[in-house]
């Protein structure tokens, strides 16, 4: 029998039950604590439970930062619930902190009443000092407004796993499974899928498997008994999804899958060349496991070699792709210019991260837009796309291949560290029912001019090995016949043609369209790439309050979508929200002479919804009342 307490809270069998439309759970601990694994397994369970979800893995650049330090804290947040979840969640409802440093890092911004689960076994004087706590926060009032539940997870894990014969250190590594067991009970989750996963994963290490399973069950059992009566449980509704077959999809996977699908639809082998760089390397890893699908991966000696080899592969009749992050994009720019000049297809995936220079390699940012658009010497136009989330990254990746091969042009696909690492439920498309768009190489002899253009300004793609069409291309300016030319009028003509060819790609793309709202609304929030979620949510909440606020989200940054200028001019006010110091806003102001304003932040993490809501409210307050 449930008894109403405060709103959304009831008691059942004497224990508190909290009802939430969506919930946010954050796991935090040392980077060696297996936090990312806990998060991924909780995500798997959440997806299988039928919730909408969005995740935010947040980890340090150091692989094994010194234990117990604040800079070694790794975290994984998941936001899930009874609707399509668009954001990672502003604040957690449950924080699991496996050591004092994790508590310290994540204390800021916690809402009153948040359930904070601590491993009290780790709150030693030494660890408190390392975390920078002068006094024990559990007893000095710091945590007074939260529901703090201290459990000696370390000791209980040791005891639950003692029978496995593993050493103490190894036993302690199962702490994350113990914590997972606790959280599973709180959200009424089935242990079976995670047990099945663990059995497959640790097949070759039976003792480790046994320790993890024992810890998982011990955590779950502890929560179930009344030994910690203050531990609440949660009720979160399932989401209504379109019927179909689903899987969890990360941005990395999405890009790999999209590239493979694009190459297959073009009828070309995929050649992916990359130099290891955070946070792009997982795309290389994913594709390297897909070699049976017409994929060749190539780990190059440097960023320049990676893009050069990709260009070589495109020249030879594959679709050459290179993946990187900001520092690598800088290095590749000269070669991208070569592909512009040679008019060869090329896809460059840039997983943007916080810059400049090395910046914060594992943290997200959107600060490579202008570099992608204009960062090469000479007039070197390319197509620039941006992925707004994992599912969109799949579409953009295959679109990048399509545009590159059908317009003989380099395409830069911008994603970011957040999109790359985030996971969301994805309805698996029925690929067999979608149309292919095969490439046709030029093979006919007679009247062959390497730079003759069709009505879309596109030159023919002739691959070496084609009888009778041997020709030379390269970085020097050429005339239509492929002859080196210093003729002033020819350079004028070719420069215009390269520019126009890229602008015409817009005809092959959907026109500008609003995500929410109507043309002519008072405020239009304009975003691009990985900020889609928080903007979308913030605009939804404002529209529910009756505000005339629209959301426009750009996935095509160059060429810009048809009709964009007209659409932008229909609004009274424009608010461009982006994670940089003002890049899209400069582009829109320059292209359309609109008085767009900015809301900018570069903190290395996604926007919180309420931050965007406040920015909208300020604009509405000033102009729309």
């Amino acid at each position: 029998m449930a008894v109403a307490e405060e709103s959304g809270r009831t008691r059942e069998a004497g224990r508190e039950v909290r009802e939430l439309e969506t919930a946010v759970v954050r796991f935090a601990g040392d980077s060696g604590d297996g936090i990312q694994l806990s998060g991924r397994l909780f995500t798997l369970s959440t997806a299988l439970a039928g919730h909408g979800l969005e995740t935010f893995p947040d980890f340090p650049a150091e692989i094994r930062a010194p234990a117990g330090t604040t800079y070694g804290v790794s975290a994984y947040q998941i936001h899930f619930g009874g609707r399509r979840v668009r954001t990672v969640g502003d604040r957690p409802d449950v924080l699991v902190a496996l050591n004092p440093a994790a508590l310290r890092v994540h204390l800021e911004g916690l809402a009153p009443g948040t359930v904070v689960i601590l491993d009290s076994g780790s709150f030693t004087e030494r660890n408190l000092r390392k975390a920078g706590f002068a006094r024990d926060p559990r007893t000095d009032g710091t945590l007074a407004s939260f529901r703090v539940i201290g459990i000696d997870i370390s000791d209980l894990t040791k005891r639950a796993t003692a029978h496995t014969g593993l050493g103490v250190r190894e036993c302690l590594r199962a702490k994350n499974f113990f914590a997972l067991g606790l959280v599973f009970w709180m959200f009424d989750r089935d242990l079976a899928p995670v047990e099945a996963w663990a059995r497959a994963r640790f097949r070759d290490r039976p003792a480790v498997l046994e320790a993890n399973l024992a810890a998982l069950r011990a955590g779950h059992a502890l929560a179930e008994t009344t030994e910690i009566p203050q531990l609440p449980s949660f009720r979160v509704p399932r989401a209504r999804f379109r019927p179909g077959l689903y899987r969890a999809l990360t941005g990395h996977e999405a890009i790999a899958f999209g590239l493979v699908d694009g190459a297959r639809r073009a009828g070309l082998p995929l050649f992916y060349a990359s130099y290891p760089i955070t946070p792009a390397s997982p795309v290389l890893h994913q594709l390297a496991r897909m070699r049976g699908l017409g994929v060749t991966t190539f780990q190059a000696e440097d960023e320049i070699a990676a893009v050069s080899a990709a260009i070589g592969a495109s020249y030879a009749g594959a679709i050459g792709v290179t993946g990187t992050s900001g520092p690598g994009l800088d290095l590749k720019q000269e070669a991208i210019g070569l592909a512009v000049m040679a008019e060869l297809p090329l896809v460059v995936v840039d997983m943007q991260r916080a810059g400049p220079s090395t910046g914060m390699p594992t943290k997200t940012e959107q600060s490579d837009l202008l570099a992608a658009l204009w960062g090469r010497h000479g007039d070197a136009p390319v197509v620039v796309l941006a992925a707004s989330g994992p599912a969109d990254a799949f579409e953009r990746a295959r679109e990048a291949v399509r545009l590159a091969v059908h317009h003989m042009v380099p395409v830069i696909l911008l994603a970011d560290a957040f999109v790359a690492n985030a996971a969301e439920p994805w309805r698996i498309p029925d690929l067999a029912r979608e149309p292919d768009w095969p490439v046709r190489f030029r093979t006919e002899n007679g009247d062959f001019r390497p730079y003759a253009r069709d009505d879309r300004m596109v030159r023919p793609w002739v691959v070496p090995g084609t009888p009778g069409l041997a020709h030379r291309i390269g970085g020097l300016e050429k005339d239509e016949f492929g002859r080196v030319s210093y003729d002033p009028d020819n350079h004028e003509r070719m420069g215009r043609a390269r520019w126009k060819k890229v602008l015409r790609v817009a005809e092959d793309l959907p026109p500008a369209e609003l995500e929410q709202g109507e043309p002519g609304d008072c405020v239009c929030v304009v975003g691009w790439g990985g900020t889609w979620g928080p903007i979308s949510r913030a605009v939804t909440t404002r529209r529910r309050r009756g505000e005339r606020v629209a959301h426009l989200h750009l996935r095509h940054l160059w060429p810009l979508p048809r009709g964009l200028g007209e659409l932008l001019r229909s609004f009274d006010h424009l608010l461009v929200v982006e994670m940089n110091r003002g890049q899209l806003v400069r582009l829109l102001r320059g292209e359309y002479l609109v008085d767009a304003r900015s809301h900018l932040a570069t903190r290395g993490r996604p926007f919180a919804v309420d931050e965007i809501e406040r920015a909208i409210d300020a604009m509405v307050e000033e102009h729309c009342r």
Binding site: A47, L48, G50, W197, R242, P243, L245, Y246, R247, F257, V260, D261, P269, F271, R289, M290, R291, G292, L293, V295, T296, F298, A300, E301, D302, I304, A305, S308, A309, I311, G312, A313, S314, Y315, A316, A318, G320, A335, G337, L338, A342, R427, I428, D430, L431, A432, V463, P464, G465, P467, G468, L469, A470, R472, I473, G474, G475, L476, R483, V484
Partner: protein
Amino acid sequence: MTAPRLHPRDYRSDQEVRWCPGCGDYAILRAVEKALAAVGADPDRTVFVSGIGCAARFPYYLATYGFHGIHGRAPAIATGVKIARPELDVWVVGGDGDMLSIGTNHLIHAVRRDLDMVILILDNEVYGLTKGQISPTSPVGTRTPSTPLGSVERPLSALRVALAAGARFVARAADTDRDLPDILVRAHEHPGTAVVEILQNCVVYNDGAFAHVTGREVAAEAQVRPVPGEPLVFGAARDKALRVRPEGGLKMVRLEEVDPADLPRFDPTERELAVMLAALEPPMPVAMGVLLEDPAAEPYERALRRREEEAAAAGPTDLGELLRTGPVWVVPG
């Protein structure tokens, strides 16, 4: 399948050659045409890839497929071409600036991977196209507009770099050497990356840079041309030879002073000897010809292809199938 044999001039494109009159590149171009004719190369299946510099204009002058890339990156571009299309015949041409300065990294890694292609390094010990600055192979003391007081840095040796990177075929020749076409044919036949260093005379900025080695009157004394199975004999009177010093390196001896049985015989598959030969500099004789030819390994692109075929046999080959493996769930309609 194979087209009728072509004459060397059939490999010439219709483009007007724009090197300075008298440039060593002309002779090299002729040698390459002869080599292509000798191996019966199909121009439609042959690709020349280059970087930037005088030497890098090469692809324009040949009637094959050609890709004139960016400075230093030719080996990397060629790597992509060869991996994507192993059946193509890929040649890389660059100068000392391309290969031993801005793009050395790519040279090293192309050689290390051992793709089946030929890399020609046209070394003239100077930057020609940018008007005569020192190059990474210029000797100490070279005076140029960028080093008016004479350079102080030591030169790099193309073949020593290639050997350090694990090259299995290295050769050295002068631009006008009569056996250059033969050397190119052997480089082409080698199943792996073949590196050929060609001493190329830049008549404008560094005329006669190699005269002390290649000059007709001095060549016999200034060069050693190893012959398989033979001792390393040289000299106008063929009265000198090379032997291995116990502490390493080669030493010059007079034939009359040694027992010929003590002299090492040249074995082109012997890497240590090739390293010592490649390192010889005046006043020792400079080693010319094929110094190492050790065709043992499987070229990179073939090994890679084999793994891909194995993967295709083992794993899913369809994306739709792959997407449905792993944790999935059904939302009922």
